[in-house]
Amino acid sequence: MPSLSDSQRELLLVELSGIRRFCYSLTGNHADADDLLQITVERVLDKGMPADAHAAKWAYRVCKNAWIDELRSREVRQKYPQLVEEQSAEALSAEQVAGNDQELNAVSVALDKLSGDQRLALSLVAIEGKTYAETAEILEVPIGTIMSRIARARRNLMDNYGSSNDE
């Protein structure tokens, strides 16, 4: 795989802040978002991208895959909790409950109940402002799949966020 061209690198630099926001919407805390962004950039630099690849869409896809890998490793860690330190979870709760982060806490709890597929699709469209076509390209699924995932994500959020807010 060829390394990044200068124009791809420049495009990526311009898109970095948006991808960082995407990472934050997936992880729900700034430390994990920075880590996910760093992993994304490392992978893009290590593997490069095709000369005709759209740098931003490619990077979002790499980020998505990195997050999915993280979710899978979390599933393994949940099966073997004695092997895991819970520091990141403690930092998450400390960050979320302080001051203005109660809203973040409620939304994050609701988002955590979505499937990974739904959360990815909703983040790209509702937060990143991507079109369904762009989102389908990034997630490598048909547009129809994006439509149904987003609708289901919103239904699940209405059920979970609304109920947690009422508590």
Partner: protein, 236 residues
């Protein structure tokens, strides 16, 4: 309702055609329950935006920007500008320090290959007026203060600035070259933790800034009004 929720979702995201939107709007006017679901979806959208679309959420750590900048070239620091003699510059420049400043590096003799300012710095040079105090914040945590602007002999414009990052404060001059801000001079003004923003005028790097201006400035520094006009027209 499942199909309706997909329709409402697409409507919210601007993905329906004009005829489809019109049809749905007619239904929304006549069906309060449908309208209520849309309002809940809109409220969720607003919450997501307000929660995740913040300045903090978009802030990229400097170390990650450096990854993209430093991977462009691992050449040692080059000499900048067009003067033949390099002795006595006294710049405390090393590849890692230059990389930490976020500037792109190219190995060269200073003639054809000169570093191009990264996009964050370039945005400030494009848009921010010169100032005597205070800083423009960059998304990666660095700070920039454009100090003055002047016309360059032969045409074009140059801007002198201070750049502050975790390694210290840098004093530089970048000039527009075919639409890109090219770094002509850069020196370490003061190391990180220093309380002095400026060393004395006899400091070698400040001399090099002055020498470059003496050789390349067509006139005195631009007035605030003239600079404002140029910023408004994209430095044309």
């Amino acid at each position: 309702m499942k199909h309706d929720e997909e329709l409402l979702s697409q409507y919210l995201d601007g993905e329906l055609s004009a005829p489809e939107s019109l049809q749905l709007e007619q239904r929304l006017a006549a069906e309060p329950e449908l309208r209520s679901v849309l309002e809940k979806m809109q409220a969720i959208n607003v919450t997501l935006q307000n929660t995740f679309n913040t300045a903090r959420s978009r802030t990229v750590p400097g170390r990650i920007i450096q990854m993209l900048n430093t991977s462009r070239s691992r050449a040692p620091v080059l000499t900048l500008g067009t003067r033949a003699h390099r002795s006595g510059w006294g710049f405390a420049l090393a590849a890692s320090i230059m990389a930490a400043s976020g500037l792109l590096l190219l190995q060269g003799t200073g003639q054809a290959d000169r570093p191009v300012a990264d996009v964050l710095l370039a945005q400030v040079l494009d848009k921010a007026p010169s100032r005597g105090e205070g800083w423009e914040m960059l998304a990666d945590g660095r700070q920039v203060r454009p100090v003055l602007s002047y016309a360059r002999t032969g045409g074009g414009w140059c801007r002198e600035y201070l750049l502050s990052d975790q390694t210290g404060i840098w004093h530089g001059v970048s000039c527009l070259d075919q639409g890109r801000w090219v770094t002509e001079v850069l020196g370490a003004q003061s190391p990180a933790g220093s309380t002095n923003e400026y060393r004395t005028a006899s400091a070698t790097d400040t001399n090099q800034i002055a020498i470059f201006m003496e050789e390349h400035a067509a006139d005195i520094a631009l007035s605030a009004e003239r600079e404002e006009e140029l910023i408004a027209t994209g430095w044309r």
